[in-house]
């Protein structure tokens, strides 16, 4: 049967936002028009415009706020095309995927499938839609390959697997559109690099493939526009459709009758007021920055939940089953409030949220905008949000964020050049799909925006790395994973390497986590366990002793011990955990907000907007110590509890402070200051040690100008980088992503020390024998961009040169309180580690002498 002719009748809808004057008209078939009109709706201007551009053969980027109907807009070209395409002819055995939808979250793919099924069903369109994620059972994946759906909703990792299979060509033959959701969040990570390479490969299979990028508001849309179209030669951009932000959100800062604490992250003081807000609204989303904050807030809310309102908790450490139950309840509007971390950050639709409460400082203005967009998914009504600063620094930051949001200032991190480790993974994947010619592949991958500027020599090194490790000492030729044929094609040398590739695909490296299992108290690690409560990072457990208590899943638990790969805990009496904090989910303060906070601090005129108590705090600091001027660096030194502290206030964000901390402790170590550790916050940095650093500065033994000299970014940075545990951790990630070492899979944990070699040892050996190896390059690039924020630090050092104010105090200052509460989570390698050993060894001597 031929397709009904009326489907092709075109309708010109001219009410569109005009960005460029030459907008082609869109053709919207009858079932769509009928569907819209039956509901009294009309398609939004940007939806029609995107359709028109797609129908004109263009790729496009749609930037729109949450609630603008972005998803439907993204799929409309596909739905229209599929609705109007001829039916499969008899004898036409196979039709590949028509539209590929990529999202950063599995949950998002599932959510979209559900949302799309409704209009498709109501219009009676003959369209098959399916998801394919890591959770999709093997038989279904197999079936999808034999009989692909028209629309496949999947993730970057699954795309990588699909293009690495031998029948990728056939599977994608009919591909017309690729829809990339939440593009702004994908492009900044290594997952984005992997995806860009996958896209480049698809273009090779389907040269006229059209992309549709969906994004929240970003500072520099041109970067994303380049990302969507081939970049070899570089520079071309996709079309751009921008929808102005909806109604201006109503944001307030919680004005509390209670005292805002000087420090801490719990916002306990505000709990009654937050609870009141929950009672007054239908559904409230409460966002926090870290998991431990989520745990605390949840516990505190339930402590005063006299009406037994259904309040739930959702974060990445919780058991998956528990998370799914919460998501389900949320969907059915069965909850009044949900306490969440960034696991809920992206655009999943969550019932009728009418209030967003943000506890703690929102860090970046873009993040704030995104989180507030969560509330009230109808674009025309204002979103309602309350900011709850947890401490006084955060009051400053919230004020700054508020101004930033109204000013529309945006801060997306700059895009990075494509990771060489990711490229190595992709090269092996390409070999799995079939033999390749190096020059062809080089031309192909440069279509991917992150790799557009990659030089040929580096590319060849990556290929050599995939083949034999690429070492200067060429002793692994006979063990090559890919080999060149006589014709010069690179071919995988054994099927087991394809198997290896499939098991290790992806760029998400999780910190090693242990299950936490409930058991009975006081029996050590020798009892059978009860239910699993969730997971915690291995390195957090390293610092615990049996008997220590911490918060998980809303409970205070007592650490009993580690058995095999599980952490055993028991119920703890009381409600105050001994170890109040664990890492995970920390965000850097954006440059913009940091600058605003610094300016506010230096200008007493601006304190008028602050709550009295916060302004009082700043006045107190001015009286007890001193407040830094806008361009100055304040350094305070004081003794406390048998140690000596130095606190500096650069206000440059945590990353830059962390790097500064590394370099300062290194210098102090050398100068005999015996630093034991440091901790960095968004605002300040504390270093502690056994020697009175204040005395060293004052006596001129170690002038501050010398300690903070810009030359630390030269040799010191290089030397530190090489020895740093941070760099080792980065190396480990690169080694895993590049396929040098394999990920640990369930059941392999016990394979033991004979088989595996720790990445740290590999790093040490490579550093001393081939420091310019391609993986070392990848590691340094990652570290410089991701961990160090060297650029920001360098600007700061030059700014404060000659403007350092040293204040020697006999006790902690008001401004120092927040950072002092963060102490205990960072390590300093070097002499201080040996110092700890010396202390432990001395204990033995005391014991032997009968003194202990």
């Amino acid at each position: 049967m031929a397709a009904p002719a009326f489907w092709f009748s075109s309708v010109d809808l001219t009410q569109r936002p005009s960005i460029e004057s030459e907008v082609p008209s869109a053709r919207l078939p009858e079932p769509f028009l009928k569907w819209f009109s039956e509901r009294g709706w009309s398609p939004r201007a940007h939806q029609i415009e995107l359709l028109a551009r797609a129908q004109a053969g263009r790729s496009a980027l749609l930037i729109a706020p949450t609630g603008a109907g972005k998803t439907l807009a993204g799929f409309l070209p596909s739905l229209v095309d599929l609705a109007t395409r001829p039916k499969r002819r008899p004898g036409e055995a196979y039709r590949g995927v028509h539209t590929l939808y990529i999202s950063p979250l599995k949950a998002l793919a599932v959510d979209i499938e559900r949302n799309l099924a409704k209009p498709v069903g109501e219009m009676g369109l003959p369209i098959a839609m399916e998801t394919r994620t890591g959770d999709t059972p093997a038989h279904k994946r197999q079936r999808q390959k034999l009989s692909p759906p028209d629309i496949l909703l999947t993730t970057p990792e699954q795309l990588a697997l699909l293009i690495a299979s031998k029948d990728a060509d056939r599977f994608f033959r009919g591909l017309r559109y690729m829809v990339l959701d939440e593009l702004h969040s994908l492009v900044i990570s290594k997952r984005g690099h992997l995806l860009s390479l996958g896209l480049a490969r698809l273009r090779r299979l389907v040269p006229d493939l059209q992309t549709i990028g969906l994004s929240a508001t970003v500072a520099q849309p041109d970067q994303l526009r380049r990302w969507l179209v081939p970049q070899n030669p570089p520079g071309e951009m996709s079309d751009l459709i921008e929808v102005a932000g909806g109604a201006r959100p109503e944001i307030t800062i919680l004005a509390s009758e209670e005292r805002v604490p000087w420090a801490g992250h719990s916002a306990r003081y505000a709990i009654p007021e937050v609870y009141e807000a929950i009672r007054r609204h239908k559904t409230t989303l409460l966002f926090v920055n870290t998991r431990s904050q989520a745990e605390l807030l949840f516990q505190e809310l339930w402590r005063i939940n006299e009406d037994s309102l259904p309040i739930a908790l959702h974060h990445g450490s919780l058991d998956v089953g528990q998370r799914r139950r919460v998501e389900k309840a949320m969907e059915q509007n069965a909850l009044r409030a949900i306490v969440a971390t960034s696991t809920l950050d992206l655009g999943i639709d969550w019932g009728d949220v009418d209030l967003v409460v943000h506890v703690g400082a929102p860090k970046g203005a873009s993040r704030l905008a995104q989180r507030i967009g969560r509330s009230n998914h109808r674009m025309d009504e204002p979103s309602r949000a309350i900011l709850v600063p947890a401490n006084r620094f955060e009051v400053l930051e919230c004020e700054a964020a508020l101004e930033a949001n109204y000013l529309g200032a945006q801060d997306t991190p700059p895009l990075r050049e494509g990771g060489l480790d990711v490229l190595a993974q992709h090269v092996l994947g390409c070999a799995c799909a079939g033999p390749f010619e190096a020059s062809d592949l080089y031309e192909e991958i440069r279509n991917a925006e992150p790799y557009a500027r990659l030089d040929r020599e580096t590319f060849d090194k990556v290929v050599a790395f995939v083949a034999t490790g690429g070492y200067a000492l060429k002793s692994y030729e006979r063990f090559a994973r890919i080999r060149q044929t006589k014709e010069g094609l690179w071919r995988i040398s054994h099927p087991r390497f394809a198997q290896q590739y499939r098991l290790n695909v992806g760029t998400i490296i999780e910190a090693p986590m242990l299950n936490v299992r409930m058991t009975r108290a006081g029996r050590g690690a020798n009892v059978r366990g009860g239910p699993v409560l969730g997971k915690v990072e291995e390195y957090f457990l390293e610092t615990l002793s049996p008997g220590d208590t911490f918060l998980l899943s809303g409970k205070v638990v007592r650490f009993e011990g580690i058995r095999e790969n599980e952490c055993l805990v028991s119920s703890a009496a009381g409600s105050d955990p001994k170890v109040p904090y664990y890492a995970g989910g920390k965000f850097p303060l954006s440059t913009y907000l940091a600058g605003e906070v610094r300016a506010m601090l230096a200008d007493p005129e601006r304190w008028q907007v602050l709550p009295d108590q916060v302004a009082d705090w700043l006045r107190l600091q001015r009286d007890k110590s001193v407040l830094p001027g806008r361009g100055e660096l304040l350094v305070e030194t004081f003794p406390r509890g048998g140690r000596h502290y130095m606190v500096a206030y650069p206000f440059e964000g945590r990353l830059a402070h962390q790097t500064l901390g590394m370099l300062l402790t290194r210098r102090l170590d050398r100068a005999g200051g015996h630093p034991l550790g440091f901790v960095a916050t968004e605002y300040s940095l504390a270093v502690w040690g056994l020697t009175d650093m204040g005395a060293m500065f004052a006596s001129g033994a170690l002038p501050l100008s010398k300690l903070f000299d810009e030359d630390m970014l030269g040799d010191d940075l290089e030397a530190w980088l090489d020895e740093s545990w941070l760099l080792k951790r980065t190396f480990r990630d690169c080694a895993l992503i590049s396929g040098l070492i394999e990920k640990r899979h369930p059941g392999q944990e016990k394979s033991g020390r004979q088989v595996t070699v720790s990445a740290d040892l590999i790093y040490d050996v490579l550093r001393s024998h081939e420091p310019d190896h391609i993986l070392m390059r990848a590691t340094r690039a990652d570290a410089a961009a991701g961990l160090l924020d060297v650029r920001r630090l360098s600007e700061m050092l030059s700014r404060i040169s000659g403007r350092i104010v040293h204040k020697r105090l006999d006790r902690i200052s008001p401004l120092a309180v927040p950072v002092m509460l963060e102490i205990g989570r960072e390590r300093v390698d070097g002499e201080a580690n040996d110092l700890l050993l010396r202390e432990a060894a001395d204990d033995l001597i005391h014991e032997a002498m009968g003194e202990a």
Binding site: F479, T543, I741, R753, D764, L836
Partner: protein, 235 residues
């Protein structure tokens, strides 16, 4: 200051079954009275062993291990060297040894007695290398053997287990390879560049040492730190 005194300043001189031995921070054991130096678990050619299975980790582990071994030899100038088993990571390891490394190793063996103790990874004598391969070797009251015997053996010096110890102080954790001893028996740390550690609190060590007298000698940057077994942490 004579050489022995200089070495003692950073190594730990302890007694095993009445014999004095030096635990060196580089991970070698020296018996001054007999001028014997022992190293354990070199695991030479571990890199190429894994490379055979497609894990292409750097081929520099043998070079790194031999360089450190050479430093120790120059420091102690022993008459006799005992390589306490698992000298090569697998049975073909010695055959795979690149010629340059073979020459280097031979030069290091020159002019001294050299014993290869058979290990579980290398039960046979190495290819094309001098030295005698034995299952166990007695030196005074000491017996050198790769795997610690389960029946209590006074004076036994063994390897195999790759002991490591963990100390937690002020909320921070330090983990190092170590010698572990109780006056009767000693287990040596693994010396190879790609060898990991197994915590001495692990059950693999159960029954080997008298708990109340057990001491771990952790390898520090330039000295050895003696820490009582009661101070150590598992994990």
């Amino acid at each position: 200051m004579n050489q022995a005194a200089r070495i003692e300043a950073h190594a730990a001189l302890i007694t095993v079954a009445g014999e004095q031995v030096l635990c060196d921070p580089a991970g070698v054991l020296y018996v001054p009275a007999a001028r014997v130096m022992a190293v354990s678990d070199l695991h030479l050619e571990k890199g190429s062993s894994l490379a055979r299975r497609g894990t292409l980790i750097p081929p520099y582990d043998t070079a790194a291990t031999l360089a450190r071994l050479n430093e120790a030899l120059l420091r102690y100038r022993p008459e006799t060297v005992i390589s306490l088993g698992d000298s090569f990571h697998d049975v073909e390891g010695s055959a795979r040894l690149p010629q340059a490394f073979r020459d280097k190793l031979k030069a290091m063996m020159e002019g001294r007695r050299w014993f290869w103790i058979a290990g579980n990874h290398d039960p046979l004598p190495p290819d094309d290398l001098p030295g005698r391969t034995v299952d166990a070797l007695a030196v005074g009251a000491l017996t050198f053997r790769h795997e610690p015997s389960r029946t209590g053996c006074e004076g036994e010096i063994a390897g195999h287990l790759h002991p490591g110890a963990r100390v937690v102080r002020r909320g921070r954790s330090v983990r190092r390879a170590c010698f572990v001893a109780d006056g009767q028996r000693l287990v040596m740390p693994a010396f190879g560049a790609f060898t990991g550690t197994l915590n001495v609190m692990d059950e693999a060590f159960a029954g080997l040492f008298a708990r109340d007298r057990m001491v771990a000698y952790l390898l520090g940057r330039d000295r050895v730190y003696a820490v009582a077994g009661t101070q150590l942490r598992s994990g």
